[in-house]
Amino acid sequence: MVRHEILIAGRGGQGILLAGYILGLALVKSTDYYVVHSEAYSAETRGGDSRSEIVITTSEEEADYMKVSKASIAVFMYKEQLLKYKSKVSKDALVLADSTYITEDMLEKTWKKLLVPFSRIAEEQVGSIRVANMVMLGVFSAVTGLVSLDGLKAAVKESVKPGWIDINLKALDVGYNTGLKLKA
């Protein structure tokens, strides 16, 4: 029985909800995993809390509790949400953090840590800080192997507005290559 609990948190405007949706959609469409995806956000669209929770199991029957109780994989895109939600992360979790805003000393020592400047990479290498979420997903794909780059790309094409598809795909590529290097 497999149960991965993934938590993605950041502040409003960082594309946390879209990242969760794209990851969920890619998992549903390109893998055999069963996927449960919920979101939580504060009323303000920008600046408030934003959280995606994804539970992955091998079958529908195994997907009992619908939310994350202790994340086995966590992604923090901003420091305030890291501090707020770190208690929801298991001791031996794999944690991806955006080092544009987060420093290593903020992270628990027991975690398997991966600090990557998602936002800076998005701005400098892709051309818009708004696709930091896709840079993150590219890295996520490379380092976890849970979902393929192609699966993520198909999900982007299915759900992102036409004018934004290319830049999101580029961000996935850049993130994926960054992830491969980190893994190596």
């Binding site: 549903v28 995993y33 919920s38």
Partner: protein
């Protein structure tokens, strides 16, 4: 078949909307309310493309009456709402039952009473679904616990409504309708889609409320020459108002009995580890997912816990419940209200203690939240 074509990543509102489309919904009337609006919005984009009619009415009272009218005009008709809107529909739920109009009502339960918390979950509409309208009538309520079931049970809701000519309620909750899951969409013949019985006699011989052996009368459609009169007053086989004891008694009994005698197409439940369960939980909807997690973790530790999950809440499969409870020492009903399904379980199980575990949190309870409430009985 390609994997992608029939796989959706949908919340339970969207899954139910897809289920309605599979079942052939072609009339929807609704009024915006959290958290049911995105079901409406989803169908508003899709139904017109498939020849359906979908409108926003001035209130929920108009919506329910419009779908009853549409149903008599031959449509497969539905609406979706949440507690406050459901309350407004009260009178005409009874109207639908009385004139035997097949309709489907989706109730996305949120926190109550009154306006409650519009953006928080609850399961406080269990009794409302059963007894919303005045007088005595039969009604069916189904409760999914996943997006897949929201899809499957919406199809089933339409099928039951059409076959038995009753209003059918789908009881969902805020958590379900805001959680996306993998859903496999189906097409006939993999899934059965039923339609109502039509008259088998010419108009001059047709009696609109004369039942067949299954207690369900064939249903004429407006505009086809049957000149059928749909009467909200107590009525005889012709649909004429009469104030005779025998007519009243037969009608009121039949409105309930037609569900009982056809219960094989309604009753539905799932059991988990009940064979040797010493502690039997009873739970439904998203809450049951948290309870299932408790049961599985307990089993891993050798504790004999089980879960009985009713899918048809009204009527519930009480025979199956009794059987599942045979070996249990205690029964614990977990629900997000202060004791509603509990009343039904407690009524049925007479020979052992039935405890109520009310969960009055605003979000989906964690297994730990539930265990805290239940610990004194474990």
């Amino acid at each position: 078949m390609s994997r992608e074509a029939d796989i959706g990543f949908l919340n339970s509102n969207h899954a139910a909307a897809e289920g309605a489309l599979t079942a052939g919904v072609n009339f929807y009337a609704g009024y915006p309310i959290t958290p049911a609006s995105d079901l409406f919005e989803y169908l508003a984009r899709k139904m017109p493309k498939q020849g359906g009619v979908i409108i926003q009415t001035e209130d929920e009272i108009a919506a329910i009456n419009a779908i009853i009218g549409a149903s008599w005009a031959g449509a497969k008709a539905m609406t979706a709402t949440s507690g406050p809107g459901f309350s407004l529909m009260a009178e005409s739920i009874g109207f639908a039952a009385m004139v035997e109009a097949p309709i489907v009502i989706i109730d996305d339960m949120r926190t109550g009473p009154s306006t409650g918390v519009a953006t928080a979950t609850g399961q406080g509409d269990v009794m409302q679904a059963r007894w919303l309208s005045h007088g005595h009538y039969g009604i069916v309520a189904l409760a999914p616990f996943s997006a897949q079931e929201a899809y499957d049970l919406t199809i089933k809701a339409f099928n039951i409504a059409e076959r038995l000519r009753v209003p059918v309620v789908l009881l969902m909750d805020y958590v379900l309708v805001h959680t996306r899951e993998k859903v496999r969409l189906k097409k006939p013949p993999e899934v059965e889609v039923w339609s109502r019985k039509k008259p088998r006699v010419p108009p001059e011989e047709y009696l609109p409320f004369k039942p067949d052996e299954d207690l369900v009368p064939p249903m004429a459609t407006y505009g086809e020459g049957y000149r059928v009169f749909v009467e909200s007053l107590v009525h005889d086989y012709r649909g004429y108002y009469v104030t005779r004891d025998d007519v009243y008694e037969e009608l009121v009994k039949r409105l309930s009995d037609k569900i009982t005698v056809n219960k094989h197409i309604v009753l539905d439940h799932v059991e988990y580890y009940t064979d040797d369960a010493e502690i039997l939980f009873v739970a439904f909807g998203s809450t049951a997912r948290s309870v299932l997690s408790i049961v599985r973790h307990a089993r891993a530790r050798g504790l004999k816990y089980g879960l009985f999950r009713p899918i048809s809440i009204w009527p519930m499969d009480t025979d199956a419940l009794l059987k599942a409870a045979e070996n249990a020492r205690k029964i614990i009903v977990v629900e997000m209200n202060y004791g509603q399904l509990f009343l039904e379980v407690d009524r049925v199980i007479k020979d052992k203690p039935v405890y109520l575990a009310p969960i009055l949190t605003l979000d989906l309870p964690t297994p730990e939240n539930i265990l805290e409430v239940c610990r004194k009985w474990l």
